[in-house]
Symmetry: D2
Subunit: 303 residues, 4 copies
């Protein structure tokens, strides 16, 4: 079973509710125009059994608590609907109306036990709140109690002056967000406080494998140890980056992902095929493409 844990879905009604109609830009997301049928055909051709869908940067992080709650509810329902219509093909990481604690706790209670929902997605930051912000405490505690998967995702730092313009916020800012969010969690001691949480950091941990020696030199060995307790998806495309990530973070922590629809068809296929070019054992490749995800998501017998 081949499982793509990093794939997006943008129901138009949901995008309108969060005030970002038209997202994502077609130029950047070559496959954004595909119908569900076309997407399934693409998955079939590539041999991918299943996608775990999430909202990407299109989080329902509205300032008004009621509006955020409604957007999250409508969005999660539209995702669950698609999963129900295509049994065995789609699951979802549900979104939360953060930073509003009461509304988020209510949405967790409402959707956590839906068959489609295998975890939750949270931005690398939440409406300007970093992941160690106390406003997130009650929500992380509840997710911990449920031993939930938390799929992190960049939110876009176009407003950071040194990433403004030239699409730098997505070219490189997105993996910077991944890196900073994962390190912040470790350095704030959150995995220790919430041991039930299973974090997935996208893009091979952003830039963590490349900076591991620096991080260790300037902080402590324990930091890399902590990072080894998280999961990572393989959205990168560079065999040597993947090999490096496996050596430093562990091949058993890697989960196949495509960042669909932010790729054209050859790039989509490359996200799977390049896993074979990193000099990994076949058994590692098998675990990466589906075995680890199946166990993590609680899906039947991984093949």
């Amino acid at each position: 079973m081949i499982i793509d844990v990093h794939a997006h879905y943008y129901p138009p009604r949901y995008l309108e509710l969060i005030g970002r109609p038209g997202l994502p830009p077609v130029a950047a997301a070559a496959l954004a125009g595909q119908s569900i049928g076309e997407r399934l055909a693409l998955l079939d051709k590539a041999g991918i059994d299943m996608q775990v869908l999430s909202v990407s940067q299109a989080q329902p992080y509205l300032p008004d608590p009621a509006a955020a709650a409604e957007a999250a509810r409508v969005g999660n329902d539209l995702f669950a609907e698609l999963c129900a219509e295509q049994p065995g093909r789609f699951l979802t990481f549900a979104a939360l109306p953060l930073p509003h604690p009461d509304q988020s706790l209510a949405e967790i209670a409402r959707v956590a036990d839906l068959p489609a929902v295998v975890g939750f997605t949270i931005g690398c930051s939440v409406a300007g709140h970093q992941l160690d912000d106390p406003v997130l405490g009650p929500v992380l505690a509840e997710l911990d109690r449920r031993r939930a998967i938390v799929f992190l995702h960049p939110v876009g730092q176009e407003g950071t002056p040194w990433l403004a313009g030239h699409n730098l916020a997505w070219l490189v800012g997105a993996p910077f967000e991944d890196t900073a969010a994962a390190l912040r969690l470790i350095l704030a001691g959150l995995p220790g406080r919430y041991p039930g949480l299973k974090f997935i950091v996208p893009h091979l941990g952003g830039t963590i494998p490349f900076l591991a020696a620096r991080v260790t030199r300037k902080s402590a060995d324990e930091v890399i140890g902590g990072l080894r307790g998280m999961y990572y998806d393989t959205v990168s495309g560079s065999p040597e980056a993947l090999a490096s990530a496996c050596r430093i973070l562990g091949a058993e922590r890697m989960l196949f992902g495509t960042d669909y629809p932010y790729c054209d068809e050859p790039q989509f296929r490359h996200h799977l095929s390049y896993l074979g070019d990193a000099g990994l054992d076949d058994s590692d490749v098998g675990r990466i493409t589906g075995g680890t995800a199946a166990a993590l998501l609680g899906l039947g017998e991984p093949d």
Copy 2:
């Protein structure tokens, strides 16, 4: 001849002029307390012939043009004095009173032909101005006319909310600054406009080698091509990061650096020794430790 192109020097009188006395924090910079004699002994033990000194983040980027000009002048004179006192051991990348164009042009004219000055250092951003800001145009044009080396260096993004706290701004923010600055230069077309400039990007290009596949997928092959026209220093400590940087950016573009005094003695030595652990040819290692730098800096015969 072994040349360390990434090494810092903090004359107290200069630090006072820029209002940052006490910099750098001793905890972070284990060797900051060394005298010049102790530093030379360390270089001798390690077999390093020469350091090219720069101000690191302690740039003279004061809002008042006259105060900035004075700080740059005093600083550059103190650096030149040390170089003169220790012939053959130290050279310097001079600092500029940016973002003030007239004062910076005057300082270039004043110091460019001093024997100690082999190039200029510019922050990855300059008092909130990015490197493609028009305020820098006249200065870059003059440096281009002189075919100058420009040694970039992070300035510290502690004020960027998602890098605030936990020392994230230096743990990972510094290589993020390198990455964004180098890409910004390319994407803004500055190397084409100023073909005489020779940029040195620290820390193996920050995170560029790890993100090269992503950058190419989301922008254009030409971007990596442009990056191959820059120089990089080897401050990293990770053999596989170095190997990756050499494959993607070119071993002939790498220049040995230590980030002295931001290391303890074993780390200082490791910055040199790890160059031998990356599976590079001996000739490449030789070019990295000194050959390329000697040619670039216009020093006699590289050994």
Copy 3:
């Protein structure tokens, strides 16, 4: 002659060029849907002879120099065209493709002598550059040489975290921008360096009259003295705010303005009528409604 110096115009083609189609929001700008004919009828009814048009926050401050230059050129031409079509009814403060110095100097040269152009409008900040930023030096010097009027206008600080949401950026952030920009000019010594410039600060100086005692207590008497050398428009609606502004900054420095179309018809009329409710001499009211502006703009005989 009654002259409204603070009035806006939004040619759709210009708005598209700057990437802000649809500006301004109809809710906020009740009169934005009026045709030129309807606007002239409104002016006639109110007894207003003339409006000096400007782009408001819709400045052509694009990162790409060529794109900024084109937007400014097209925008200024569209404004000049309207002025030519309605002789004696409209004049304009031309916009500049800042922060790009060469392009801005070229646009000044191109339009400064057009009959419609009676001055220039510059944002309270320019694409993140404050008004004392050296990038603006050559442009301010040229405007000084031409003894030009510079009409400042807020650009919108929705991205300032403590002004985010609840429309705070326009409710109060706009006059905060006015206040800070005017004080920055004084505190940076720019009126002394560029004595030919005649600044107009909108909204009775933002909040300066109310804060004058505080500013004097915490800085120096000279600051208020410097502020008395600028001009101000009367967009406020509060008779006691106007009376205070006249006492502190001088009635002879006040210029009538309406902020058209950011008002409905009764508010539009109130911007003129409230000038009579502030306990001012009739002669002062006459100067405010047109006399001072006519002299400043170099228009025939003020009545």
Copy 4:
């Protein structure tokens, strides 16, 4: 009884705990060097019976919850100690270790019933969180339950680019913070949600009286109505600003304050004497100098 509700106190041990030793700058705070004895003599000379002390911008808003809690505890104890040593002369608005909810609730429980504590001080923003941020919800709810006074105070926006340099952040940024915080509370509906809270906004509401017509034009009459439900201190120095504040917000909402030690001795005395220059009834002046505060703070019989 004359009561100064806006006065600060900076115990050195507390300043060290929050990492801001040396605050405030002597240049800005002429009276900062006074001993308690000298301060009492000054109060006696001016005829001021009592000061309600607060930490000004030196809030214990540290990222680490335990460190914040300790700083708040030590600080509040030092304030309470001084109050106990000088009975009848000092009271205090206690500080809270925000944004940490559990630690803040614990500190409220610990100090709310101390005789010295007559309310709480909260920054106009809290470590980057605005006052309508959900992280503050539990704390505001508890303060509401206790019908507590909340004395707002600016925290310093030196990092806001358009207020950077020239001391603009304190010259005018501080009253901008007051204005935005008070409006944000109203626009977010917090007084309705927490009807027991009694807010004091410093500096005559920042700039609210001057901008009232604009705020009403662009939002709704109810906003000014909501603002009339808050209290304000008289730190300004401008009789006409005070008169305007009384007309718009109500003389019965004004509380005398000095911003001690941010003034020299003549300025200190002026903060009291100018209350008589605003054309108010004597009875209003009496309420402003002490009557309203005595009732609000629950002090014996106001004279």
